[in-house]
Symmetry: C2
Subunit: 180 residues, 2 copies
């Protein structure tokens, strides 16, 4: 097991994060992922090809902001549904982890690390999501029981809810951790 | 409305498809998408940054093969769930379109074009999907009624089903077509 928690100075030095971004915001849920499970295409800070989404508490809700790239298109002018599913997926597993730490009254850099994977994902596409505006994904923890956390979410563009998600997340089995 | 159906010679000449690939395989469902709705990140031949998945009939089932890239990772060694959702999504909407043509006893290059978007997507992740092997996604049309098609699917690696999907696809509204 690699050390848990962020080593921000190293990440900034390596260029994984621009210093300006770090200065401008607090640490995200994903910033606390242990380095050996921080490669996720959707949310891992070690995946230089990935989306690198970042999620935060906003009171009892979790929130993530993401601006799709022009190539993240479905039909022209609208956001690709697979990206929407990916954002909901990773924001929800991140929320699950943060909720599990919070329920244990633990900080996210305490040992042992808690990391969640997706057991099931459901997305209802309510209307086409315009491509261009920054998207807001908001999550609410519906259930937290043992190794299972259920997170419901909305994805909005310019204040209009375009998709709803529901993710059942389960705590990652210890044998899935690798030397990375 | 741009001309429907493939213009393969033009696509080959433009480098959108390597000639070798065309020679090696028959046309996929997605090859028939009208050019103004062929930008999808998951399945559009006009999206040079996208996955460009290709789906075919195999009897009553549809099939798609896709080999994830090394960066399509969740935890190291396993495929990112958002990619799995994307593959199931696009393979299912492609299957929906092909099924709608087939139900109308029409070829896929006939007018007017039929193109589907996702109303809802559900994925059950049954086990971690190993990153490396080519994945096989198989779809079955559960329901086809009016503008709605329901497609169930499996995603397998090395013969083992790792995920199951269910997509409700609806025929694309005419006003979503643009000049591209």
């Amino acid at each position: 097991m690699a050390p848990a928690g962020p080593s921000m100075a190293r990440r900034i030095a390596s260029g994984l994060y621009p210093a300006k971004e770090i200065e401008m915001s607090r640490l995200a849920f994903q910033d606390y992922y242990p380095e050996d499970v921080a490669h996720c295409y959707g949310c891992g800070y070690k995946n230089e090809h990935g989306l690198r989404i970042r999620s935060f508490w906003d009171g009892q809700e979790s929130v993530c902001y993401y601006t799709p790239s022009p190539h993240h298109t479905a039909v022209p002018g609208y956001v690709y549904g697979g990206l929407i599913a990916s954002l909901i997926d990773c924001h929800s597993t991140g929320t699950a982890a943060a909720a599990a730490y919070r329920a244990s009254d633990r900080s996210m850099d305490s040992e042992p690390p808690l990391r969640f994977v997706t057991a099931s994902l459901h997305v209802d596409y309510l209307r086409p999501t315009p491509l261009g505006p920054m998207l807001e994904i908001r999550g609410v923890v519906d259930e937290l029981k043992g190794r299972k956390v259920v997170v419901s979410s909305t994805l909005s563009a310019e204040g209009v809810v375009c998709a709803r998600g529901r993710v059942v997340a389960v705590q990652i089995p210890a044998d899935l951790f690798s030397a990375g």
